[in-house]
């Protein structure tokens, strides 16, 4: 290993997400049982990952599309000659 200690380091993130093979998973699990420093890190990382995963999804505001269309229309009108080249959507008025 290239790290200057035998601690787990940022591979803990793979462990938290269960993305390691069996051999590495067993190695880290054993290390965590014996090393309080890594165990402390692991608890924080696990907590952070849970927090991120629990974040609520916010729906995009309903009027966002209308605002975008309005802006596209104004661009299309001011650049009528270039509208073919820039592939702006064809808007039905």
């Amino acid at each position: 290993m290239k790290t200057n200690t035998n601690h787990i380091g940022h591979r803990l993130v793979f462990y938290v997400h269960d993305e390691l093979d069996e051999r590495e998973t067993t190695y880290i699990a054993t290390h965590l049982e014996q090393c309080a420093a890594c165990r402390g890190e692991y608890e924080l990382i696990k907590k952070g990952a849970e927090m991120l995963a629990s974040l609520k999804s916010i729906p995009a505001p309903r009027n966002l599309w209308d605002t975008i269309l309005r802006e596209l229309r104004s661009q299309t009108e001011s650049f009528t000659e270039d509208s073919e080249k820039t592939h702006l959507p064809k808007i039905n008025k």
Binding site: H10, L12, V13, K47, G48, I58, T67
Partner: protein, 188 residues
């Protein structure tokens, strides 16, 4: 967050200027883009403006793409960069308080008891605030991981950095969130 897959033909139609094909792509990505901008920038006004900017950019560049995989990498890169540009311009790199008031549009919460709803909103606000304290680099990785469950490899392509950098930033980001939110232990 789930996302509808976009068929190859839709990109072709969009490149030909088909309004409905654009709307289809917009519908597939609008919540992802809005959540990305919201959690990167920390408020609804900026999220709205920058989401608009991102989609306008998409509509003038859509003819570059034939497949969704190359498209989504490009699109998320454009989205993150638009947020970083916005932060730089507005000089808003410092920690900000996030005042999130929109409580009536969240899905699947209407049947929960009020106490649990209030608690969840409070927890969400706490997590939002903690995310806003992360550096833009850490925040980018966290937000990409959150909004589309992107793999380390996808994130490394989007941010143009190594897999090691992604995992190290994710590790640090989680650790900061964990430290900031340790008081919420077992409340979720």
């Amino acid at each position: 967050m789930n996302r509808q897959k976009i068929d190859k033909a839709i990109f072709q139609r969009a490149a030909d200027g088909d309004h409905y094909a654009f709307k289809h792509i917009y519908d597939a990505y609008r919540d992802h883009v809005y959540n990305l901008t919201y959690y990167m920038l920390g408020n609804e006004n900026d999220a709205y403006d920058v989401s608009q900017e991102i989609f306008l950019k998409l509509f003038t560049s859509i003819d570059q793409f034939k497949h969704e995989s190359e498209f989504s990498t490009w699109f998320y890169r454009v989205s993150i960069n638009a947020c970083l540009d916005h932060m730089r311009k507005a000089n808003r790199l410092k920690t900000r308080y996030v005042n999130h008031t929109e409580t009536d549009s969240f899905a699947d919460t209407s049947t929960e008891p009020v106490d649990s709803l209030v608690l969840r909103n409070q927890i969400n606000t706490d997590i939002e605030k903690a995310i806003q304290t992360l550096s833009p680099k850490l925040r980018s990785v966290m937000v990409l991981r959150y909004i589309d469950g992107l793999s380390y490899e996808d994130i490394s392509k989007i941010l143009n950095c190594s897999l090691g950098t992604v995992s190290s930033r994710l590790n640090r980001g989680y650790k900061s969130l964990g430290k900031a939110l340790i008081h919420l232990k077992d409340e979720i």
